[in-house]
């Protein structure tokens, strides 16, 4: 940058001047020296030309040769201009000077002849050109001048041109003249040209030396001065750079920041002192490091790049970075500018967000928008529009053939668009489509407007489409429910009256259903439009109007039953329910419940009678229970006494009069006695049975196994001569009345013991087993058994399976057992076969 500035601002005209002459300075280049020589030649021409001009002008004026006067003045003016007007480019001046000399020479030669001032001008032209443009140009000019002289000689010789003042023209003296001119030209042109060439070479050598010194770091005084100037200018530009809002910076090729303007302090949030001379990478957020390194490396390779980076301060800048080259064109680092685009990005983001919102809103509302360009015939569609048609958005424009194929009534939809464009008819249509990919049928609602240009010509149509499938379905469902409601109203057996609160807070009868006419026996349409008081004056004295108003206004439902009696009989009954349908509206539903109420009344009556009967029966039952008790008591006391008497006196007879009786009589008396004993046992058994039914039960945990074991011990003690094996499963605990259960087990085990009396290896089992998923207890023996054909009689009182002579018994035992088990919620049954033993199963309900 510094080098560039220096070359750009190198001064051109800082040379000392003297009388318009530009004096060369040390270290100047060839061009300047040439200029100097050139200026000198023209200065001489101007000064000496004046001396030759004045007499010539005088002669011409005297001879009134005005053309010559004007030529002299013209040439002289040109010389002066060339001499003093330095703005004219150097080469133009040179060619102008050369041309004037040449033309002056040509004119002089033609007019005055081969000897004289004409040749001097030509030589001057050659001299100037060789000095200014070099040796080669000088030689060309020499040749040109010789040619000119030969041409003039030929023209003269052929009489085409004649010299006005020349009388002795011959070829010989013309050739002599040309020869002398040639020699004179060589003498005057070549040496200066050679001199100039030599000087030029010298200058070039010196320049090279200076250049070498510069690269060696040695600056000449002038350079230092220039450098200072450049620095001042640089300061000026830095001030400018410091006052702009963009960052300007330079960096070296080692990744360090070498300079930055003050804007960078604001943007990075760090002082220049803390950033300059240090690596710049940490100034940026880590996410951007890779791209920064990439850009920096590429810039150092010579590329000019733009990119966006974010500082750790959070500010994002757009960077333009360029390679920084020294005067030799080698890259020494980078420089560039950066613009804060945070706000712009934020705005872009905000714009993006609001666009997205619009999209989302469209998606949520299922509204798509479209634009039909009339000139192109293309239809632009929003994302949602594509989505509604179920078409992938490959381009912005809707594929019309695909869209049309989906529309079920494509003709009508198209016609609507045509009508809008051509007739300006309102475009507000609903139509169904079948989405191609999902085969789903949806209903769309489309609205569109025509957009015209300033001249009123239609240019496009903008429109929206909305998915109203759900709304349409909801409407259909609503209509269905309305129909259903209406049908239900019409066919309901329940009467309905509809009321509405009017502006005066009065309930007005607004409608009814057919059942209402039938139930009330009147035509209800006569009430329509009347207030409740006008329609049904008899209700005014009741709470009904207030209840109805509460239902309509406050939504408080009310129901009531009204029964009309006549002579204590139900003549009619109705059930009424009033409730709010919509605010300010209510309906009363009423049904004829006469039959139901009558039936209920009948049931109440029957129930009351039944209860009375139960009370009576209970009393009777209690009385009979008491009777039974006293009966049992009597039996217990009174039936036994005579038995004992019979028994006692029979024995007395035997004892006291035994000697007078024969054996037969004695046997009979023995039978009398044993019968009385049996009768006593029967009475005892009956008493026990009756007690079982009457006594209160006390439920406890009962160990049946232990009870069974005790009973078996007793039984064996009674008949120690018998060998009976008892197998009792231990730990059979149940809930029940211990006394009653003992009676039951005593009977069952006693039976088993009794009926195995004739079995050699008697075996009696008591245990528990599973039968049809139920836990049952069993008492099993291998004794006499019985025929299952008679098993129905088994548990009846006084029913016996065996002859008393075989197995004595009362016939009450199993009845007693059954009664005990029934009182425990259980049951008993048996399996047996004659001579193969019997098994009695029983269950007990779980009583807790």
């Amino acid at each position: 940058m510094r080098d560039q500035n220096k070359t750009m601002h190198q001064p051109r005209h800082n040379y000392p001047r003297l009388l318009g002459l530009v004096l060369p300075k040390e270290g100047d280049n060839l061009t300047k020296w040439r200029g100097l020589i050139f200026s000198a030649i023209f200065a001489v021409s101007a000064v000496f030309g004046l001396f030759s001009l004045i007499p010539n002008l005088k002669i011409a004026v005297e001879n009134q040769q005005w053309s010559s006067v004007s030529i002299y003045l013209f040439l002289y003016t040109i010389w002066v201009i060339i001499l003093f007007v330095h703005r004219i480019p150097f080469k133009v001046r040179v060619w102008a000077g050369v041309s004037t000399y040449y033309l002056s020479g040509l004119v002089a030669l033609v007019m005055v002849g081969p000897v004289g001032s004409g040749r001097i001008y030509l030589i001057a032209a050659g001299l100037v050109i060789s000095l200014m443009l070099g040796l080669k140009s000088g030689l060309i000019m020499l040749g040109w001048n010789i040619g000119t002289l030969i041409l003039i000689g030929w023209l003269m010789n052929n009489g085409i041109v004649t010299w006005m003042h020349l009388t002795n023209y011959t070829i010989d003296n013309w050739i002599t003249s040309i020869g002398s001119f040639f020699l004179l030209s060589i003498v005057t042109t070549i040496p200066p040209a050679v001199l100039v060439r030599q000087f030029e070479l010298k200058l070039l050598e010196e320049q090279r030396l200076i250049e070498r010194m510069k690269t060696a770091g040695i600056l000449l005084d002038q350079e230092i001065e220039e450098h200072k100037k450049a620095e001042e200018e640089l300061k000026g530009s830095k001030m400018f750079l410091d006052n702009i809002s963009d960052i300007a910076y330079t960096a070296d090729d080692q990744g360090n920041l070498t300079w930055a303007n003050s804007a960078s302090e604001r943007i990075t949030g760090l002082s220049l002192e803390s950033t300059i001379g240090k690596p710049f990478l940490p100034l940026f957020i880590e996410d951007d490091h890779q791209s920064l390194i990439d850009i920096y490396t590429r810039t150092l390779m010579g590329e000019s790049l733009e990119n966006t980076l974010t500082f750790i301060s959070g500010i994002t800048c757009h960077f333009t970075s360029l390679p920084n080259r020294d005067s030799k064109g080698e890259i020494t680092g980078t420089f560039g500018v950066a613009r804060d685009i945070t706000e712009r990005l934020a705005m872009e983001r905000a714009l993006q967000v609001s666009e997205n919102r619009l999209k989302e809103a469209q998606a949520v509302a299922r509204i798509g928008n479209w634009e039909y360009d009339i000139s192109t015939g293309k239809v632009w569609g929003s994302e949602e529009a594509f989505r509604l048609y179920g078409i992938e958005r490959k381009s912005e424009y809707l594929p019309l053939d695909e869209v049309e194929a989906q529309i079920i009534e494509a003709k009508r939809v198209n016609q609507a668009l045509v009508d809008l464009v051509t007739l300006g008819k309102e475009y507000n249509i609903e139509y169904q489509i079948t989405q191609k990919n999902s085969k789903k049928s949806i209903t769309l609602h489309a609205l569109a407007e025509l957009v015209k240009d300033d001249e009123g010509n239609p240019i496009k149509v903008v429109g929206i489409i909305q998915n109203i499938t759900e709304r349409v379905q909801a409407e259909e469902a609503l209509q269905e429910s309305r129909n259903l409601y209406q049908k239900m109203n019409e066919n309901s057996p329940l009467g309905m009256h509809f009321y509405q609160l009017d502006d005066n807070d009065q309930l007005v009868f607004v409608g009814h259903n057919p059942a209402a006419d039938k139930l009330l026996g009147v035509d209800n349409s006569q009430f329509v439009g009347k207030t409740i008081g006008e329609a049904f004056p008899q209700l005014l004295q009741t709470e009904v109007p207030r209840r109805y108003r509460d239902a309509a206004a406050k939504g408080i439902p009310w129901s009531t039953e009204q029964i009309a009696y006549e002579d204590g009989k139900i003549m009619g009954a109705s059930e009424v329910r009033a409730f709010q349908t919509t605010p300010e509206n209510m309906v009363t539903i009423f049904a004829d419940i006469t039959e139901r109420v009558q039936a209920q009344a009948e049931i109440h009556k029957l129930n009351a009678e039944l209860e009375e009967r139960i009370v009576q029966r209970t009393a009777q039952l209690e009385a009979s229970n008491k009777e039974l008790e006293s009966f049992s008591y009597s039996v217990s006391h009174d039936l036994r006494s005579p038995l004992r008497g019979i028994n006692g006196w029979s024995l007395a007879l035997l004892e006291d009069y035994g000697s007078q009786l024969d054996e037969q009589a004695k046997t009979y008396l023995g039978r009398v006695r044993s019968e009385t004993q049996r009768m006593g046992q029967l009475i005892d058994a009956l008493l026990q049975l009756s007690r079982l039914t009457r006594d209160e039960m006390s439920i406890k945990v009962v160990d049946l196994s232990a009870i069974a074991a005790t009973i078996s011990t007793h039984l064996q003690k009674e008949e120690p001569q018998r060998q009976v094996e008892f197998v009792i499963e231990p730990g059979l605990d149940v809930n029940g009345d211990p006394h009653l259960l003992e009676i039951a087990l005593t009977n069952l085990l006693g039976n088993a013991f009794k009926f195995t009396v004739k079995t050699p290896q008697a075996r009696i089992q008591f245990g528990q087993t599973e039968l049809a998923g139920q836990t049952v207890f069993f008492v099993r023996d291998n004794g006499a058994g019985f025929d299952m054909a008679h098993s129905k009689k088994l548990f009846g009182a006084f029913q016996r399976m065996h002859k008393t002579s075989d197995f004595p018994g009362t016939g009450i035992g199993l009845t007693t057992v059954q009664r005990v088990l029934q009182r425990h919620g259980g049951r008993i049954w048996a399996e047996a076969a004659v001579d193969k033993g019997a098994t009695f199963y029983f269950t007990l309900e779980e009583i807790s």
């Binding site: 008591y633 036994r640 024995l651 009385t676």
Partner: protein
């Protein structure tokens, strides 16, 4: 006259005869006084009615009491006996045909010393009478005479003075 009499309260003549027969067979020599209903039994014990003038200090050593009696039943007789200090400690054996629980319980509650159910079989009945006589007349130590001890507190708690024996 044997001073150790036994009072039999029994209305059934057949039973009276059988009981007498049983006593005879078991060779119990004590005099058996028979009262045929409850009222008569009480009259005898307290020397009232037709027994007015009887030496009331002469009490039986044992009362055999049937429960089912005409007019005043056995339980009532027992109750009144226990209420009276003179008879409150007198051994009473209920001898009846009933086996009803309530009868047994009430008897003991009122201070019966024993409860025997008359078996139908006379042989067993005779055995029972024999055991009974042996126990109450021989083995059992009779209660001391109230007159001699002057003990009067039994009015409030007859149960403690009539130990239950079964």
């Amino acid at each position: 006259m044997n001073p150790k009499t036994i009072l039999l309260v029994e209305d059934n003549p057949s039973d009276i005869a059988l009981t007498q027969r049983a006593f005879g067979k078991s060779r119990i020599a004590n005099e058996l006084v028979v009262a045929e209903d409850g009222q008569e039994a009480l009259d005898y014990l307290f020397a009232r009615g037709k027994y007015t003038g009887r030496d009331e200090s002469h009490l039986p050593v044992l009362v055999l009491l049937d429960l089912k009696l005409p007019q005043v039943n056995g339980l009532e007789v027992l109750r009144q006996m226990r209420l009276d200090p003179r008879t409150s400690r007198l051994p009473v054996v209920v001898l009846t045909t009933s086996k009803e629980e309530q009868d047994v319980a009430q008897s003991y509650d009122l201070g019966a010393n024993s409860y025997i159910r008359k078996p139908v079989d006379f042989t067993k009945f005779a055995e029972a009478i024999e055991h009974l006589g042996l126990y109450w007349l021989v083995l059992n130590e009779p209660t001391p005479s109230r007159k001699r001890t002057g003990y009067t507190s039994s009015l409030t708690d007859p149960g403690t003075t009539a130990p239950k024996r079964s």
